[in-house]
Point group: D2
Chain length 332, copies 4
């Protein structure tokens, strides 16, 4: 947080940089960058989870002001933010948290449940075009998802370092625990998973740099559900290897594990990202005609027989082999 | 806790019931059963994890008293207990928590780090025989492990109920989430895993009732690592399906998930129990002589040929089939 | 096969026993039981997988005969059967395999692709009522699925025995491989999984015996996808532990592994059974009213405060504790 | 095989290229490259699995010849090879398969069991230095393992293509199966796993190109066990999605699945590679002194208090916050 690279500020700054007017940038972007103010992002609604088609919060124009009513859920750090980026059905608005009508519920403590009761903001608090909320949200989330993945790489690397130091520092059953095979497997599996996640994130970031978040959306989605899984698996192994100490709050591992499921939910649940990947991947495939796939071996063998008919006719051994193969298509 | 069925009291009561003198039972067992007092169990040492061969805490007899010195780690609820069951290298002792020399460290908060500095207790505070600590500990842990498994069944059943209620109560992408296949898979997998764990625990309990904790130790060990896994998996699915609400502390799921790794550590880490199961299971097997296993197909086929030599000699078709089979041992 | 307990005959005999006339039993059931004849079960169609609503094979009555046309796929042992139980959209028929018009395609070799070209059978070759095919199929499959599970228990027990014998018979890196922890984990995991599958199958069989296949259908479905998974996992571990020998056809393990995926497909794919379990389980749950689940902690705490209002009013310490707890719902 | 890139020839050619004399290259390397001859690699011994310290096959010098005796197991394609690269305890030898004394057992059919009974070869059939077998074997296997990984990437890509084509070509329960969520998950998981494996292999190959097989041995080991896992998982999903067709030998999927376990055994079992990775990784870590890890939060907090003592002394709010935090180390 010391470095200004924490969510939700990062994503909000990206939106401001991309869609803010000069005046909006001056008023909010630079103070956010300097950490003079903090922000929140208010999107999810209690009845709607993260399916935007079910959202209801709406802004109505009334003279020089927008009047906003609705109910949002899980607005991270909403109670402590100076400004809230509020997704309405008809646009993305910047709402000072102290505006009259902003009512923050007692629960949950960290990710707030907020009611907006006829909250009034000036016209210039609309960010980007009217009705542009979904475009801004995608912009924000596309980047945000790979930020999550990058932070995950750092988290699991820390967990791995703690685990590796510990296995050299403890003994059980007559040897340092680093020499027990089940411990070695935990290290080896984590090594492979962390490096593969890191490479996946780098590949995705390289793709974004060379095209756009939109064109990299299949890869971004894969980063998102993969980092959630690796975070659970590696933080578990590290915590487990620290034994009773790992279950206390005396190291970072218990908090890392306890928070790991959030990674599979924030900015879209894994299920949604998996459907996205499947649908995008399938755009480059075609159904096969008829009953059999392109790789149907009897058909490929028949083609080969036709193509090499002259060779087979000239070589009785080859012909006998080809005839025998007909009855056992799997033999190559 | 209201019902007096919580750890660590249950296991401690079992030890008292099995090894306590009448006076010890009167003094401690009945007050524990009535919840007039609470107890702790002080076994693990900071340098030794749960490997008892590395423990150092020791009691020295001095006239009418035992004088105990040592350092224990992760004594659950030690700071709030009235009496502590303290495992020494030469016996199991009951130590009033307020005895001079009992020093409780600041961290961890719940599972205490305790130094015993020349703590004096009367002679009759030795429970069971001198040098009997390991026997009592096994007695305690054997039972304790299946108690953990039983509590786990109740926990995952609660998680399952919360998940099932929720999937009928929320919609996304045009239908109740119970109708999304990935959600259905979470329910179906949990249904099978919970029921199999429940049956495993019942089978083990039935074996204990019909023999002893000692004879059921392979099954108990399997219950222990299995319940740890099912607790992680089912609590994760339930938390995930509740989405952002699941990650808050507004339902029991976040706490269940956060504490789940403890189940794979408390009363012996999974690795130790897995080694136990493997070693016990292998006691009823013998190595095969020579290079090939008992189920080596060419040898079994040769035996069959010998056994049915008359039949084969009388039937040329069968003989031809048997000859052809020699070259393809896997064909039946 | 020697014992007459192999699919597909077992399920076909069950249908005959339940729905056959005395004459049909005399003609087909007793010869099947005596293994004088063999049978096949022809259900799946090439375009339809195992979704019966897509099936097209139909029987038309023509005087004293039914005339059947259609195309079936994956009729196990169809080419070697004496009689075929043929599922038509309007009934279940028994078709002698040598009837004119039964045309068996070259591929696949074992699970046949069969075209029925105006195949004629006498009227009394209809089994059960007209239009009763789905009822008979469910009867057949319900039982058939638990037969699969029972056979799987036997298979994985054999794999386990081979694995346990082998780990005592081989050395590597200075000790018998039974003493390597990764090997011990393979044994311990297999021990737990096999026993849990066994208990699940026994529980299901007990339920069938005390009610009906229909009432046990949730459990039967769980047996089906569970046995498929355990078969893959245990046969893999056993094969792997036998190393290069395991990959040859010199032991039963390679064939067991190679055929394992069939268990997740035959008589309904896993996906269908998982949907069944989810839907059946959810019949005993209700959606919660409003936004919060029944286990919503703040609501439960409020209820408790009301219920114990007198106690709290009388005890300032308890009142202070209860007030503090409001802000931290997860603390108990 | 058409392209000369198949095992075991590739690895053997690498050894010849690296260690062969000009004459040896002329005699064997170029004919192998032109596929005029084929080779085998004879290393594993029946009693020893792949633990070279248990090998016994030995060459004794007798005048102008080496005389080799021993027994090898699982020499892939040994029966069809022109020359066999034979690992002896005292060197790597090239043995023409038709040499007197080379006795190939009936089983297994493809990966041969060979007895070498006083087989004589000229002195110049020793490849590389005397006693150099382990060095040559490491050279061979280092490269060979990443060749396996590269071939696996191609295999799983083929499986993925077959699966993606199929899900667009079949319907069940009212929609194309590509629209069922469990199918989408199979595609999304495979997409991520295949791409991560591909990136891991590319990263490793890049490291080899910029250093050596020896320096890249941790990465190579990780490639080896990872490709074995991805091959099993992806080939399973593809086979399963093709349903009954997938279980036949009419597509490449059944053979891919059936052979998948070999990948976890050939050129070293997964267990050995995992131990290698753990040991290599741990070389860059140190045990922590004392009981607590470097990331022990109370110690880090005390350091911070000392470092910022002036700031804390000057700011009573900050001091109060710091004092409160002492009791809850996990709170940040």
């Amino acid at each position: 947080m010391v470095f200004g690279t924490a969510a939700p500020d990062t994503g909000n700054m990206e939106m401001l940089a991309a869609y803010g007017t000069d005046e909006q940038k001056r008023r909010w972007l630079y103070p956010l960058m300097n950490q003079e103010i903090f922000s929140a992002y208010s999107m999810t609604e209690p009845q709607g989870g993260s399916d935007p088609s079910l959202f209801k919060t709406h802004a109505t124009r009334d003279g020089d002001e927008w009047v906003i009513s609705g109910e949002k859920w899980f607005t991270s750090a909403g109670a402590r933010a100076d400004i809230i980026f509020l997704m309405c059905t008809n646009g993305m608005f910047v709402v000072p948290r102290e505006s009259p009508g902003v009512e923050i519920a007692e629960y949950p403590a960290l990710h707030n449940h907020i009611r907006y009761n006829e909250v009034r903001v000036p016209l210039d608090h609309l960010l980007g075009p009217e009705d542009g909320a979904k475009v801004l949200a995608q912009r924000r989330l596309g980047g945000g998802r790979i930020h999550h993945a990058m932070r995950t790489v750092a988290q699991v690397k820390l967990a791995f370092d703690i685990m590796c130091e510990r296995v050299l520092s403890r003994e059980s059953h007559g040897k340092v625990i680093a020499e027990h095979q089940m411990v070695q497997e935990a290290i080896a599996d984590s090594y492979a998973e962390i490096n593969m996640l890191r490479l996946l994130v780098l590949w995705t970031a390289w793709t974004i740099d060379n095209s756009s978040t939109k064109q990299a959306r299949t890869q971004i989605a894969a980063c998102k559900y993969t980092c959630a899984k690796v975070l659970r698996d590696v933080s578990y192994r590290a915590l487990h290897i620290l034994g009773s100490l790992g279950t206390t709050d005396l190291t970072p591992l218990q908090a890392m594990w306890a928070a790991a499921p959030t990674m599979a939910i924030a900015d879209g649940v894994d299920e949604v990202h998996k459907v996205t990947v499947a649908r995008n991947v399938l755009k480059s495939y075609q159904p096969h005609p008829g009953l059999w796939p392109t790789e149907y071996i009897p058909a490929k063998r028949e083609e080969a027989r036709k193509k090499y008919a002259d060779l087979i006719a000239a070589d009785p051994d080859l012909a006998a082999w080809a005839d025998a193969a007909r009855g056992r298509p799997g033999v190559r």
